[in-house]
C-alpha cells in the first residue's frame, strides 16, 4: 500500500501544459487529459452528460451546436470512438467532417501544421484528434487559432480523457456519486494503456476510496505507485471485494519485445472468468473500453454476463462526448481575451 502523493508531475509534458485546457474564466476549452482538472470540471462533465443521456433517450437531437463544424482527425484506426464522437456531434446538430488521414494530403507530404491551417481556413470550430504519438493533441491545441477547441480522442500511451469520463459516468450510474466508498481495480496491460492513465487521474480527482492496478510485472509502468494506486500481480487478490473491475485489452500492436510468454498463459493467469470474478463483491460491475479480446483478457461468459456493463459504456460515450463538446464550444463566447500565442 502506498500513500497518495500530491499532484504527480508528468514525464512528457511540462507543469504548465495542462493549463491550456482552461480558458481565462476557468472554463473547459480543450479536453486533452483528465490530469490537472479539478473535480468541479469533471463533475460538470458528468452532470451535463446526465442531461444529454435524457436527450438520447427522447428527442435524440438538440439544436445546440447548429452551424458549428467539427472535424474528426483520426491518424490511428478507431471505430467506436470515432463513430460515437460523430454521433455526439450530429445529435448536437453540428456538421461533422471525417478526414481520412491515410488518403489525405499528409500522405502526399503535407506537414501536420499545414493540414491544420487549411482546416482552419475552412472555418472549423473543433478538432477531435487521435494519434499514435503521445502529446499530439497538446501540440495541436498549442498551435490552433484561438476560436478552435481540441479534444483528445487518444494519443499514444498518454491519455484518452473522454473514454475515462464515460467510464466515470458508467461507474456513477451504477454505483452512485460517492466514489469515496468504492474500490476500483484496473486489470491488464497498464503499460500501454492511455485509458488506464486517464482513468487513474479521474478516479483520484473524484476521491475514489481505493484504486488498484493488477497486471504482470512486465506490463506495469515503473513508478506507477506515484500516481496514487496500489499494485497487485495476483488477479484474485487484486479484485478482492472490488466494486468495479475494469479489464484492459492486451495491446499486442504496441508491444516491443517479449513482455508475455503467450496469450494462452496470460489468459491462464489474468483472464477474467466467472470463477475468478467471485473474489469481487457480489454486485461488482465489469467494464472494458473495447475492443474486447474474448479468451485473452476476458471470458465470453463474463463479457456477456449479468455484471458486464460493457455495452452501456458505449451508449454513455455518446452523452459524455456531447457534454464535452458543448462545454468546450460554449466556452468561447465568454472568453474575449485569449492571450495565448497561436501563430508560429
Amino acid at each position: 500500500m502506498v500513500n497518495k502523493p500530491s499532484r504527480p508531475t508528468h514525464a512528457l509534458l511540462g507543469q504548465d501544459q495542462w493549463n491550456i485546457q482552461l480558458d481565462s474564466n476557468g472554463k473547459l476549452k480543450h479536453f486533452l487529459t483528465t490530469e490537472g482538472l479539478g473535480s468541479n470540471i469533471l463533475n460538470q462533465i458528468l452532470d451535463t452528460a446526465e442531461s444529454f443521456a435524457g436527450v438520447n433517450e427522447s428527442v435524440k437531437k438538440v439544436p445546440l451546436l447548429r452551424g458549428k463544424t467539427i472535424v474528426n482527425l483520426f491518424f490511428e484506426a478507431s471505430t467506436r470512438t470515432r463513430t460515437t464522437f460523430e454521433l455526439a456531434a450530429k445529435r448536437l446538430s453540428a456538421d461533422v467532417l471525417n478526414i481520412n488521414i491515410s488518403t489525405s494530403a499528409t500522405s502526399k507530404g503535407e506537414s501536420l501544421l499545414d493540414t491544420l491551417r487549411n482546416l482552419e481556413a475552412m472555418q472549423c470550430d473543433m478538432f477531435i484528434v487521435r494519434h499514435a504519438d503521445s502529446g499530439t493533441a497538446h501540440f495541436i491545441a498549442n498551435h490552433v487559432a484561438p476560436h478552435i477547441s481540441v479534444l483528445n480522442a487518444g494519443d499514444g500511451q498518454h491519455a484518452h480523457p473522454t473514454q475515462a469520463m464515460l467510464d466515470m459516468f458508467t461507474i456513477r450510474r451504477n454505483k452512485g456519486a460517492d466514489f469515496g466508498r468504492l474500490r476500483v481495480a484496473i486489470v491488464g496491460d497498464i503499460m500501454h494503456s492511455r485509458v488506464a492513465r486517464s482513468q487513474i487521474h479521474a478516479l483520484n480527482t473524484l476521491n475514489t476510496g481505493d484504486v488498484r492496478i493488477v497486471a504482470p510485472e512486465t506490463l506495469i509502468p515503473k513508478d506507477i505507485e506515484k500516481m496514487g494506486v496500489s499494485v497487485y500481480q495476483d488477479l484474485e487478490q487484486g479484485i478482492e471485494d472490488a466494486d468495479v473491475v475494469i479489464m484492459l485489452r492486451l495491446q499486442k500492436e504496441r508491444m516491443m519485445g517479449a513482455l508475455l510468454p503467450s496469450e494462452q498463459e496470460y489468459y491462464q493467469l489474468y483472464g477474467l472468468t466467472e470463477e475468478r470474478l467471485q473474489a469481487a463483491k457480489d454486485d461488482a460491475i465489469v467494464m472494458h473500453p473495447g475492443p474486447i479480446n474474448r479468451g485473452v483478457e476476458i471470458d465470453s461468459a463474463v463479457a456477456d454476463g449479468p455484471r458486464s456493463v460493457i455495452l452501456s459504456q458505449v451508449t454513455y460515450g455518446i452523452a459524455v462526448r456531447m457534454a464535452v463538446m458543448s462545454m468546450t464550444l460554449g466556452s468561447h463566447g465568454s472568453s474575449q481575451d485569449d492571450s495565448r500565442e497561436t501563430r508560429p
Binding site: 460538470q44 436527450v55 428527442v59 438538440v62 439544436p63 460554449g330 468561447h332 463566447g333
Partner: protein, 173 residues
C-alpha cells in the same frame, strides 16, 4: 418599481384564472409542463391545485437557448422529463417570470421536437416589461413594470419568495 405580491397569493390567482381559461377553451385533459427551475416549482403546485390527471412534465431549455454561443453552457443543466411524444396534447406551459420571451421561444422549440401539440397555453406568475419577442402569457399572476436593469427571480421551492436586484448591464434571460 411596483411591488411584487407574495408568490403564494399570486399562485392562487393564477390557478383560478387558469381553471377558467381551460373551461372557456374546452380543455379537459391538459399536460402541464414546468420550465426549470422556478416554473417547475410552480407547475408542481398548480398541477395539484387543478387536479390534472396527466403526470407533471418539466423542461430544461438549456440545449435550446439562443445565447449559447455568447454565454456558453449552463453549468447546472437538468433533464427534461416529458412523455415520449406530445402529439395532440393541450399543453399548459408554466414559468415564473415572462421577461424577454426568449425562454418561452426555446421551450416551444423543444416541445415541438416531441411532437405537434394541439395547443399551448402559457401561464406565468409574473409578466414583466421587456419583451423582445412577440410572445405573451394567457394566464398571469401579476403584471410588473420594471426597469431594464431590474431583475426579478423566484427563489424556492419552500418557501417561494421573490428576489429583486438592480444589476447594471445585466442581459435579460
Amino acid at each position: 418599481m411596483t411591488h411584487a405580491a407574495n408568490p403564494d397569493q399570486l399562485l392562487e390567482k393564477l390557478a383560478t384564472d387558469l381553471e377558467n381559461l381551460l373551461e372557456q377553451r374546452n380543455i379537459s385533459d391538459p399536460l402541464m409542463v414546468g420550465i426549470h427551475t422556478g416554473g417547475a416549482w410552480l407547475a408542481e403546485q398548480l398541477h395539484k391545485k387543478l387536479n390534472i390527471q396527466q403526470p407533471l412534465a418539466c423542461l430544461d431549455i438549456s440545449f435550446y437557448r439562443d445565447d449559447f454561443s455568447r454565454i456558453g453552457m449552463n453549468p447546472q443543466v437538468k433533464t427534461s422529463q416529458l412523455p415520449p411524444q406530445v402529439e395532440d396534447d393541450h399543453i399548459i406551459l408554466v414559468d415564473d417570470v415572462l421577461h424577454s420571451g426568449r425562454t418561452i421561444r426555446a421551450a416551444m422549440n423543444e416541445l415541438f421536437d416531441y411532437g405537434r401539440p394541439a395547443s399551448i397555453t402559457l401561464a406565468c406568475l409574473v409578466e414583466r416589461s421587456g419583451r423582445e419577442l412577440p410572445i405573451q402569457a394567457d394566464a398571469v399572476g401579476q403584471i410588473l413594470e420594471l426597469d431594464s436593469n431590474e431583475h426579478i427571480k423566484l427563489t424556492g421551492p419552500e418557501p417561494l419568495a421573490w428576489e429583486i436586484k438592480r444589476i447594471d448591464n445585466q442581459k435579460a434571460d
